[in-house]
C-alpha cells in the first residue's frame, strides 16, 4: 500500500490530482473506513501532518483547525478557557483527529444534550474529487449562504472529499458532573425509562442504555446543583439509582468514549436507531452473540460484532430491519451496512463532487 504524507492544503490538492484513486487517513482509529483494501490501487493520503489550530477566540465560541489535528489537542486548548466539544468525540485518547471525527460522523454520549457532530460543524475547507481546494460555510455560528456542504461531509467517510480544515462551534464546559446508574432489569423497562427521560424536563447531559437493563445518566452543571437533581432523577424513574464515585464515573465514560468495553477482536459497528427500533435489533444481536450499548437516548447503537461472525450477516439483519450502520474498526469495510438511503440524490452529489471516481466506491 502506498502512502503520501500531506502537510498543507496545497499538498493535499496536489496529491488528489496526482493519483487516480485516493483515501484519506488521519489518526487511523477507525481503520475499517480509512485503510485501503488489499490489492487495490488506492493511495492512502496521510493527513495527520495537516494539523494545528488556525483560529480560536474563546469569546467567539468557535474554533478553526486543520483536519489532522488530534481531538485531544483541541480539548486541551479549549479546556484552558473553560470550553469544550460537548458532543464528546469518540476515540480521542486513541488519537482520533478532527477530520476523522467529522468524516466518520461519530459523536459520543454528550450528543444527547447538545447535538451530534453535524450540529457543531459550521464551515469546512476541503479538496473535492477534481483536486480543487474549496471552502463552504463560514466561521460564524449562523450562516445560510450557499449549499450546506459542511453538513454533507459529516459522515461522508472520505468518499466525497478530503477535509483540510474545519470550523466548529464550541461551548462552555460544565463545572461538574454526576453519573447515576439505574438497574431496570429487562431491555423493555430500560427503553421505557430512556424514552420517559428523553421527553421529560430534567436536563440530562448523557442518556445511555447498557443492555439488558442498565440506564446510565450523566448530569452536568454547577457542583451544588447536582445532588438535588440526581434525587429528582431517581424520583422520576421511581427506581433508586447508584451515583458513581468521581473516578469510577470518569473511567466508565472513558471506556465508553474509547470503545474499550468491546471484547477483544470484536469489530465496532455504529448503527442509527430509534427507541422503537431497538427491541428487534437487540433480539437479532442476542442471536448473533454480539454485545451492544445504546447512546443518545437509544438513537445510536454501538455494536461489538464478533470476529467469527461474517459482517454480511449484520448487513442483512440491518437491511431487514430498515436500519443503517457503518463498521469503524476491523478490516477495511467502508460500504454502508443495511438499508441504503439517498438514492438518486446521493448518486448525483457524488457525481458532482467526485466526477472522476477518485474516492473509493461508497
Amino acid at each position: 500500500m502506498s502512502v503520501v504524507a500531506i502537510d498543507s492544503p496545497a499538498a493535499l490538492s496536489e496529491a488528489v490530482r496526482a493519483h487516480p484513486r485516493v483515501l484519506p487517513v488521519g489518526g487511523g482509529t477507525k481503520p475499517a473506513l480509512s485503510v485501503p483494501p488489499d490489492g487495490t490501487d488506492v493511495v492512502a493520503l496521510d493527513v495527520s501532518g495537516l494539523r494545528g489550530i488556525v483560529e480560536y477566540d474563546p469569546a467567539e465560541l468557535t474554533l478553526t483547525a486543520r483536519a489532522g489535528t488530534p481531538i485531544a489537542e483541541l480539548d486541551e486548548a479549549l479546556a484552558a478557557h473553560g470550553q469544550g466539544l460537548p458532543f464528546d468525540p469518540p476515540l480521542a485518547a486513541a488519537g482520533a483527529t478532527l477530520g476523522g471525527v467529522v468524516a466518520a460522523g461519530t459523536s459520543g454520549s454528550g450528543a444527547f444534550h447538545h447535538g451530534t457532530v453535524r450540529d457543531f460543524v459550521v464551515g469546512v475547507r476541503f479538496v473535492d474529487g477534481t483536486g480543487a481546494l474549496v471552502a463552504a460555510g463560514g466561521r460564524v455560528v449562523k450562516n445560510a449562504a450557499g449549499f450546506d456542504l459542511p453538513k454533507l461531509l459529516v459522515g461522508s467517510r472520505g468518499r466525497l472529499g478530503v477535509l483540510a480544515e474545519v470550523t466548529l462551534k464550541v461551548f462552555p464546559r460544565s463545572e461538574a458532573s454526576a453519573t447515576v446508574a439505574f438497574e431496570l432489569g429487562a431491555i423493555e423497562a430500560a427503553l421505557a425509562a430512556v424514552a420517559r427521560l428523553a421527553r421529560g424536563s430534567l436536563e440530562l447531559d448523557a442518556l445511555d442504555l447498557e443492555p439488558p437493563g442498565r440506564v446510565l445518566v450523566r448530569l452536568a452543571g454547577d457542583a451544588d446543583s447536582l445532588p438535588p437533581r440526581a434525587a429528582r432523577l431517581a424520583a422520576a424513574l421511581d427506581v433508586p439509582g447508584v451515583t458513581l464515585e468521581r473516578d469510577a464515573a470518569a473511567a466508565r465514560w472513558r471506556e465508553v468514549a474509547e470503545l474499550s468495553w468491546l471484547p477483544a477482536g470484536a469489530r465496532a459497528v455504529r448503527v442509527a436507531t430509534t427507541a422503537r427500533a431497538v427491541p428487534a435489533l437487540q433480539a437479532a444481536l442476542d442471536g448473533a452473540g454480539a454485545a451492544v450499548r445504546y447512546g443518545n437516548a437509544a438513537n445510536v447503537a454501538w455494536i461489538a460484532w464478533p470476529q467469527e461472525q461474517p459482517l454480511a450477516r449484520l448487513d442483512e439483519t440491518l437491511g431487514t430491519l430498515g436500519l443503517t450502520g457503518t463498521a469503524l474498526t476491523g478490516p477495511p469495510h467502508a460500504r454502508v451496512l443495511g438499508a441504503r438511503r439517498g438514492g438518486a440524490f446521493a448518486a448525483r452529489l457524488r457525481a458532482a463532487l467526485d466526477p472522476d471516481n477518485r474516492f473509493p466506491e461508497d
Binding site: D57, A59, E60, T62, G105, T116, R118, D128, A132, L133, V134, A135, A136, G138, R139, V140, K142, N143, A144, A145, G146, F147, D148, L149, K151, L152, L153, V154, G155, R157, R159, P172, A195, A198, R199, S201, E203, G221, D222, S225, R229, R270, A272, A275, R276, N296, A297, V300, T324, G325, T326, V336, R341, G342, G343, A344, F345, A346, L349, A351
Partner: protein, 459 residues
C-alpha cells in the same frame, strides 16, 4: 405552453389557476420589491400531485417554484415569469407525533406553530421559531434553513430536520435520513435543508421535537446605547452562560414595536432581551447570576418575568418588529448579515455611520447572541430612486459583514436578493463547485431557477 396542457390533464379542476386575477396573489413573497407573473399556480393537495406536476414541468422544461405561505424575505418563493408555482399550503397536516422517539412527521405546508401545538399534549415542542412562525410553513423553513430568536441554544431548522421524503427536479423520489438523531452516511438531510428549493420539493418531513422546558425566565434590560447592550451580551457569554435567546432592539425598533403591538417596553436607546430555560432550580440560580451580570453592565432598568403572558408580550413586540416598522415608513428592506459576535459593537457603530452618511433611517433588531443582524432600511418607494438608494446601503452593510469575517445571510437565505453578493464570501472555485452540484442535481435547471445563482443566460 406544453406544461400547461399536461397540467390540465391532471384533474386538478379548480386547483389549477391560470387567470391573471388569480395569479396576482402569487406574484411576490415578503420581499415585495420583486414581482413576477407565473403562467400557472397549482394548489396541491397530495404528495402524488406534487410529483406529477414536477414531472410535467420537467418534461416541458418549464421552471417551477414551490411556495408555502410566501413569507420569504429574500424572494425565495418569487415565481419565475412564465413558470409554475406549486402552492403547498393545503398539504398542511401534522401526520403523526411520536412521544417515544420525540419526533413528528409533517407535510411541507404544515405551519411551524401548529407542529408545537400538536406536540404540546406530550410535553414536547418544535424548537425553531422564526418571527413569522404563526404563518410560515415547515417546507419553507426547511428550504431556507430558517432560524429564529431561540436558535442561539436550539440551533437552526437543519438541526431539527431528521428525515425528508423529496421529489427531485426531474420527478425522482428520494428518502433522506430517517427518525434517528444519529444518522449514518453523508448528511444528505442537512445538505437538502437550506438549498432554497434548488434540489426539489420536500413532500414529507420528519422533525425532532424537544421537551418543553420546566422553567423559563425572561429578562428585559434597557441601555443608553447599543454599545452598552452589546457589551452586556459579551459579558454573559464570557461568564459561560448559555441563554436560549439574546436579542437587542434599538430605539427606532422599540418605537415601531410600541406603535403597533404595545409590548410596554421602557423607552431606551437599546433593549436587551435574555431568556433562560431549563430545570426549575437551575434556572433560578442562573437567573440570579444573570441579574448580577446585567446590574453590572450599566443597564438603566432591568425587568424580569416568569409569567407566560408577560413573556409572550415581550416576544410579540420583538417578533413583530419587521412588520411594525411599517408604522415608521411606507417601505423597508430587511437585511440578515452576520458578524463574529465580538465584532457586534463595531458593526453597529458602522451601520450608524453608514445610515447617517446616506441620510437613510435604519432600525436595528438582532440576534445578539449569534451575531445575526437585521438592519431594517426604511424608505419611501414613491420617491424616485429611493429603493435604489436603500439597496445600495443594504449592499454596503453586507460588504461590511463579510469584511468583519461574517456572512451575507444568517437565516433568510440568498434568494434573488443577495445572489450578487455570494462572491464576496466565496472564491470562484467554491462557487463553481456549488454550481456543479446544482447542475448535477437539476440538469434542466428548472427548480426555483434564478434563486441563489443568477439564471445561466445572464452568467
Amino acid at each position: 405552453m406544453r406544461a400547461l396542457a399536461a397540467l390540465r390533464e391532471l384533474g386538478l379542476d379548480g386547483r389549477l389557476l391560470t387567470a391573471p386575477a388569480e395569479l396576482a396573489a402569487f406574484g411576490s413573497d415578503a420581499l415585495t420589491a420583486f414581482h413576477e407573473r407565473p403562467a400557472a399556480v397549482v394548489l396541491a393537495q397530495r404528495a402524488e400531485e406534487v410529483v406529477e406536476v414536477v414531472r410535467a414541468c420537467h418534461r416541458a422544461r418549464v421552471p417551477f417554484v414551490a411556495r408555502g405561505s410566501g413569507t420569504s424575505l429574500s424572494g425565495g418563493s418569487l415565481p419565475v415569469a412564465g413558470g409554475v408555482v406549486i402552492a403547498l399550503n393545503r398539504m398542511n397536516r401534522v401526520l403523526s407525533v411520536d412521544p417515544e422517539t420525540c419526533t413528528a412527521v409533517v407535510e411541507p405546508g404544515a405551519i411551524n406553530l401548529h407542529v408545537s401545538a400538536a406536540a404540546r399534549q406530550h410535553g414536547l415542542a418544535y424548537a425553531p421559531d422564526p418571527s413569522s412562525q404563526s404563518v410560515c410553513t415547515i417546507g419553507g423553513n426547511l428550504a431556507f434553513n430558517s432560524g429564529g430568536a431561540h436558535c442561539l441554544r436550539h440551533g437552526m431548522t437543519a438541526n431539527h430536520v431528521l428525515g425528508i421524503r423529496a421529489v427531485l427536479p426531474d420527478g425522482e423520489l428520494v428518502e433522506l435520513g430517517g427518525a434517528s438523531r444519529e444518522p449514518v452516511g453523508p448528511d444528505l438531510t442537512g445538505m437538502f435543508c437550506g438549498s432554497e428549493g434548488l434540489f426539489g420539493i420536500a413532500l414529507e418531513v420528519t422533525l425532532r421535537l424537544v421537551p418543553i422546558a420546566e422553567a423559563t425566565h425572561t429578562a428585559l434590560a434597557s441601555y443608553d446605547s447599543l454599545e452598552l447592550a452589546g457589551a452586556a451580551v459579551a459579558r454573559i457569554v464570557a461568564a459561560g452562560m448559555l441563554p436560549v435567546a439574546m436579542e437587542i432592539m434599538d430605539a427606532l425598533a422599540i418605537e415601531a414595536a410600541e406603535a403597533s403591538v404595545r409590548p410596554g417596553y421602557p423607552p431606551a436607546a437599546a433593549l436587551l432581551i435574555v431568556e433562560l430555560e431549563g430545570e426549575r432550580d437551575v434556572v433560578a440560580a442562573d437567573a440570579a447570576r444573570l441579574r448580577a451580570l446585567l446590574d453590572a453592565s450599566g443597564a438603566g432598568a432591568v425587568r424580569t418575568t416568569v409569567d407566560p403572558d408577560e413573556r409572550a408580550l415581550i416576544w410579540k413586540g420583538r417578533k413583530s418588529a419587521f412588520s411594525a416598522v411599517g408604522w415608521l415608513a411606507p417601505d423597508y428592506l430587511v437585511q440578515d448579515g452576520v458578524v463574529p459576535r465580538t465584532r457586534l459593537g463595531e458593526a453597529l457603530a458602522e451601520i450608524g455611520r453608514m445610515s447617517a452618511a446616506a441620510g437613510i433611517r435604519v432600525a436595528n433588531v438582532f440576534h445578539a447572541g449569534d451575531g445575526n443582524l437585521h438592519p431594517l432600511i426604511l424608505f419611501d418607494g414613491r420617491e424616485p430612486g429611493a429603493l435604489e438608494r436603500a439597496e445600495r446601503l443594504a449592499g454596503e452593510i453586507l460588504r461590511m459583514c463579510v469584511r468583519l469575517g461574517g456572512s451575507i445571510t444568517g437565516e433568510h437565505g440568498v434568494g434573488v436578493e443577495k445572489r450578487d453578493y455570494l462572491e464576496l464570501m466565496f472564491a470562484p472555485a467554491d462557487l463553481a463547485l456549488m454550481r456543479r452540484v446544482r447542475d448535477t442535481v437539476d440538469p434542466a435547471g428548472i427548480a426555483n431557477r434564478g434563486k441563489v445563482f443568477a439564471p445561466e443566460r445572464a452568467a
